[in-house]
């Protein structure tokens, strides 16, 4: 099972002939992901190959052809920011149901229109990102840019707004002997596709996931909304770490979405909301793995 991607995932890489797209297509193939097609407008009919000539993937002019001729059901997007909104909509209109957008730096207005369009025209499409590391179901498929070897198959679901922090957390879990069902990087932009709440709902319904680790950061109210959902609907143990307790208001901390504005989005209020929802909030980021292991082994000591 797991969520969003698995061994049946057939990926089309939009922007496969670009530097990033090409590099990461190979990394995904090395991991065992099925990449069935690439799309670069104007390069249809060519064959993409990696620098070692190990893999060959047909390139199409449109996503529609990649779906019809190569059977793609998932898109991985690397196209530059000015064209990324167009690429997402093209994938959705072509019938792709899972879209993972890695691109960083897409204008907020573009994403606002895209999200509005998807809501109205393609409510069943799952958009992950943009500005995210992607999704990995260890041992089955890696649709993103994360280093595959730090993950291990298992039963912890990870959802995170940050790339390297996801790696950090997964690495710590793996070191403690805890594998992951799926790790979802939802990205650091103000208008994301999937939210914390959406992914937590999926993990709650996924039989392969036994516990959930939420990694949040300052900005917006996504963590507070997740907390509300967890309080009402989640029966699995949930752990959380929130980055940015020392971040000053009004300053953008790297991610476009990581900014405390209008008195909203500070770390303390997120931690409070999650705690009140029964989530075990981990304060020291060096002990994420250790705390999850100990609390799962001995829940009475951590939850009343």
């Amino acid at each position: 099972m797991a969520i969003i991607v698995d061994k049946n995932t057939k990926v089309v890489v939009q922007g496969i002939t670009g530097k990033e797209g090409s590099f990461h297509a190979k990394q995904c193939l090395d991991y065992g992901t099925q990449i069935v097609a690439g799309v670069t407008p104007g390069k249809g009919g060519q064959t993409w190959t990696d620098d070692e000539g190990k893999y060959k993937v047909p390139v199409y002019n449109t996503v529609e052809e990649a779906v019809k001729e190569a059977g793609a059901n998932t898109s991985l997007i690397f196209v530059p920011p000015p064209f990324a909104a167009d690429a997402i909509v093209e994938a959705a209109d072509a019938g792709i149901k899972t879209i993972v957008c890695i691109t960083e730096g897409i204008p907020v207005k573009d994403m606002m229109y895209v999200k509005d369009y998807l809501r109205k025209e393609h409510p069943d499409v799952i958009l992950v990102g943009p500005n995210c590391p992607g999704v990995i179901t260890p041992g089955q498929a890696k649709v993103g840019i994360m280093p595959g070897h730090i993950f291990k198959p298992g039963n912890i679901g990870i959802v995170s707004r940050s790339g390297t922090l996801t790696y950090e957390a997964a690495f710590q879990l793996t070191q403690e002997g805890l594998g992951q069902s799926t790790a979802v990087g939802i990205g650091g932009d103000p208008v994301p596709g999937l939210t914390h709440k959406d992914v937590i709902k999926m993990f709650q319904e996924d039989p392969d996931t036994e516990a959930i680790l939420l990694i949040g950061e300052i900005g917006g109210t996504m963590e507070e909304e997740a907390a509300e959902y967890i309080k009402e609907h989640v029966t699995k143990p949930v752990f959380a770490y929130i980055a940015g307790i020392t971040a000053p208001p009004g300053k953008r901390m790297g991610h476009a979405g990581a900014i405390i504005t209008g008195g909203k989005g500070d770390a303390a209020s997120k931690m409070k909301a999650l705690s009140e929802a029964g989530v075990l909030v981990i304060e020291n980021p060096a002990f994420i793995g250790k705390t999850v292991r100990e609390a799962l082994e001995n829940p009475e000591a951590y939850w009343d």
């Binding site: 204008p107 280093p147 390297t164």
Partner: protein, 384 residues
Amino acid sequence: MKLHEHQAKEIFAKYGIPVPEGKVAFTVEQAKEIAEELGEFPLVVKAQVHCGGRGKAGGVKIVKNMDELEEAVASMLGKVLKTFQCPDGKPVTRVLIEKATNIDKEYYAAITLDRSKSKPVLMASAAGGMEIEEIVKENPDAIIIETIDPELGLMPYQARKMAFKLGLPVKEAAKIFLKMWEVYKDNDASLVEINPLVVTKEGKVVALDAKMDIDDNALFRHPDLAELEDEEQLPPQEREAKKYNLNYVKLNGNIGCMVNGAGLAMTTMDIVKLAGGEPANFLDVGGGANVEQIANAFRILMGDPDVKVVFINIFGGILRVDRLAKGIIEASKMVEIRVPIVARLEGTNAEEGRRLLLQSGLNIIPVKDMWEGAQKAVELAKQA
């Protein structure tokens, strides 16, 4: 990117939002010429800084004659204006000279993104002149919100409704709200704020102040707006970091942080604090950090006299740690590093990376995890 009040008002005027008549001056001479042109007193002199709370800090003055004008402008230009919002202050290099307005009532109006809905909202309140945070804190009901459908835009009925509820002159105010939406949409703004929006004793509705933030990611399609950036409003290190394409935010502590990834960079600040220290900065060197970027990052950190120790926290994923370690060693030859470095390197080929650092002969202390690194950095900062 933040715009100055005078820049935002010029855009407002283009769209037909009424603003007081006025012009920006960079010198006392220019200010006097503008006063002549405006041809009447009293006038208002407003320091142009990217910071709220100017009024209470002496950054807004009403002047009744040319002498007072000269004195007010001279007292502002070239000074650093410290307000409660910006305790470190912002340099004043320009002032806005405007005709004074007879204020009857003050309101608040803004358009911004409601992130939980991924839709823009028009927010307004009769509690003008106050910060939005304060309004919400004092009385959340005092703020009225209309959610905007991205496809339809702000509808005239919504603008009217807002004006009716606030008791504003409906025709004028609704027109202003609709124009604010156009300003927001056309310019890829992340914030369009009028505070205060005033009704004058003559019954006119006027934007007495104007604030606009532009989405940095959209500047590629607004070259005219990109040119308006006043980099002097940024602290010097942040200005430098921008040149190098580094994400850097200056903070008040003495432990310089160098990290890959924004989330991990914030986490590093947090763990320094948890270990009893104070971070000097947020710094994300990015996922593909090369020698040049690391050298630039060292330049920025060494440019901050407060930095007593550098804490490097790198999680190497696809970018291998041994290559990063080589980058650090190379970079340290390009930049003089006057403080000890604590390095926590983890991820792909971490062992080899740590070995390279140990053998480099540099004043680098490798640590095994983030917590040990933070504690070591705090200890060294205290000794320095």
